[in-house]
Symmetry: C2
Subunit: 136 residues, 2 copies
């Protein structure tokens, strides 16, 4: 099949999404990775920070400063795991969940606009395929 490189296609769309997300996240006082952390924690609290970094594909060294920041903002809390005191569990605060929900609404609306070039059936098919490709 003759086709354009996947890398080029995915790269351009990803860049487009990042550019569109920037101002929306700014409006909620969140960085891209801060938003990523909140999203991940909403799916499941992190047993420790290393697992959190791995889950979102972020550098574990830099995660420290990022968590410092969003913890200072009251969006997440780090608490010692009584079972293994080396671990810091990270979980969303109610404020963090509220901030996430608000930001997600804006982002979802932006994404829906982008997806509006596709039919509803196509949209569902695309999400399904992307999930499979991302999680293999």
């Amino acid at each position: 099949m003759e086709r354009e490189d996947l890398g080029s296609l995915f790269g351009r769309i990803t860049r487009r999404l990042i550019v569109a997300e920037g101002p929306l996240l700014d409006g909620h006082g969140l960085s891209m990775w801060g938003y990523g952390v909140l999203s991940q924690l909403a799916q499941e609290p992190a047993a420790n920070q290393l697992a959190l970094a791995t889950a979102i594909g972020y550098d574990k060294s830099r995660l420290i400063a990022l968590l410092d920041e969003i913890e200072r903002d009251g969006l997440v809390v780090r608490e010692q795991d009584p079972a293994d005191r080396r671990n810091r569990r990270v979980r969303l605060t109610p404020a963090g969940r509220a901030r996430l929900t608000a930001a997600q609404a804006d982002i979802r609306a932006m994404e829906d606009g982008l997806l509006s070039e596709l039919t509803g059936t196509e949209q569902r098919s695309l999400i399904s395929m992307l999930s499979r490709l991302a999680n293999e």
Copy 2:
């Protein structure tokens, strides 16, 4: 529709593609952006460097050094536009085209492996949707 963020899905797949492409391109002595330039020039020679930078979404300042490099390797040539001597036309050399073709074969094979999780019909549908989202 309940779904994961598009940014997260696209971001993870893009990263996965970049990681997989790295060693393949290394094997052909190409950087990611060098490959991007060759791909773009294969579609259409660049009337000038600014247009080339814009077409591939690369920084025009950094394009200079990149072109220096792949021109030194004999993959492209910069030639003055006789109609407007400010412009530098950039086009593939036969060596550049050969290098591109070889690299593309490897990358295409890698991509096909990744896409093998999808049915043939799905693959065609995916490419179609990605093209529309990338080019709108």
